[in-house]
């Protein structure tokens, strides 16, 4: 993949940086609260991922469109209001489309508004780049976030419940590790996954000592 990135004119790079190199969760360590809170079931993780993706894409596009209109001093409040508007839309849509998933995690859906990834992308990227690049950035980051959430929730659901999306993977008579779906399991999973990411980076020699 490294070869392609240098050949294409930077667009692919914009898209792909969110997957691994600047993965919002494991490398940048942003947006951890919803990640840990909703990752006990794969279903929840998907709901969160989709809502997050929607808000990030819409807010990145909107902010890059209006970047010239917003005075520099009040940009953060403006960004927050734009993001809050899209979170309200996402929250109302989810309430209508998937009410049972929404009921389980309405608090964390509402809290997307203060997710550091979204505000971070608005501040660091969308307010300085054109619409197309911002949209690509949002797609990359959104996919990176959803994929990370998927990995964490898959580990937790399989070990904690013995199921995957409700299907039983581990036979009933093997006792699942209940702690994995409780709060400590979330911390352990993300801790070890971060260590794994670090290990890969060290092995690749990207970390200069």
């Amino acid at each position: 993949m490294g070869q392609e990135e240098t050949n294409n004119t930077g667009y692919f790079k914009e898209l792909s940086k969110g997957f691994i190199r600047e993965n919002p969760i494991f490398i940048l360590c942003l947006g951890l609260c919803p990640t840990l809170a909703v990752s006990n079931l794969v279903e929840n993780a998907f709901g969160m991922g989709i809502a997050f993706f929607f808000v990030l894409l819409c807010s990145n596009i909107t902010i890059s469109l209006v970047q010239k209109l917003i005075p520099d001093e009040v940009r953060i409040p403006c960004f927050i209001v734009i993001i809050a508007a899209f979170v309200t839309v996402a929250s109302l849509l989810m309430q209508w489309l998937i009410p049972d998933v929404y009921a389980r995690m309405s608090l964390y859906i509402n809290l997307i508004v203060v997710n550091c990834i979204i505000l971070g992308r608005a501040e660091a990227f969308a307010s300085k780049n054109n619409v197309f690049r911002s949209a690509l950035d949002a797609v990359g980051m959104g996919v990176g976030f959803t994929a990370s959430l998927f990995i964490i929730s898959a580990i937790r659901e399989v070990t904690g419940f013995g199921t995957f999306l409700g299907f039983r993977l581990i036979p009933e008579n093997i006792k699942p590790i209940t702690i994995m779906i409780l709060a400590p399991g979330a911390f352990f999973t993300i801790g070890f996954l971060m260590a794994l990411f670090n290990l890969i980076r060290i092995k690749k020699g990207k970390v200069s000592k």
């Binding site: 927050i80 209001v81 309200t88 997710n115 702690i179 352990f188 801790g191």
Partner: protein
């Protein structure tokens, strides 16, 4: 409210449903500022103050503006604006009164605005007390106690991290990985409170 209810609320929001260890709210400042005890303490006080005030103000806003005018769907926008202005106020105050603390908190102070714990407690107050009368005292106290719980978690972690500096940690575990594992272990201890009933 009786004293018993207050104690129950205190135990509930500080230990049983600790914002960090069981609700996962406010993790960014938690891992960011817990490197040494003084800044953890400063951040903790700032969060306690902002959370208490934010709970009180969002209560008034929700009860007397959003509900009568049937605007409850605007709660996300309204709450975040109130909290953002409060944080601005706290920042100005600290800059004047405690410049050293202001410098050491650095970037994390404006980030209280995007601290999900502060907004989280406002939303929790609404959903939790929806069935009951959504009382002013209860909401404010819940905000205050949740802030105390946050500060407690910060202090525990900063104490451990100061010692971790001298520990031999595997290369890959250095940085945030070991912090999360430690948080997981503390969280197991806090899980012990979950059977607690008053």
């Amino acid at each position: 409210m009786t004293l018993g209810q207050i104690i129950a609320l205190f135990m509930g929001s500080v230990f049983v449903q600790n914002f960090i260890f069981s609700r996962f709210l406010g993790l960014c400042p938690y891992v960011g500022v817990s490197k040494d005890t003084p800044s953890a303490m400063g951040m903790g006080f700032a969060v306690v103050f902002v959370m208490t005030m934010a709970s009180a103000v969002t209560w008034g806003l929700y009860r007397y503006v959003l509900i009568p005018f049937d605007l409850t769907y605007l709660k996300i926008v309204a709450f975040i604006l109130v909290i953002a202005s409060f944080v601005q106020f706290v920042e100005m105050f600290l800059k004047k009164a405690f410049p050293a603390l202001h410098r050491s908190l650095g970037i994390y102070l404006p980030l209280i605005t995007t601290n999900c714990a502060v907004l989280g407690v406002a939303f929790l107050n609404i959903t939790q007390f929806e069935t009951e009368s959504y009382g002013f005292a209860k909401s404010t106290l819940q905000g205050f106690f949740a802030g105390i719980g946050f500060m407690l978690a910060m202090l525990i972690m900063s104490g451990i991290r100061e010692k971790l500096e001298y520990a031999e940690i595997p290369e890959a575990m250095k940085g945030l990985a070991i912090v999360f594992i430690t948080a997981g272990l503390i969280s197991i201890a806090f899980l012990g409170f979950s059977g607690f009933k008053l």
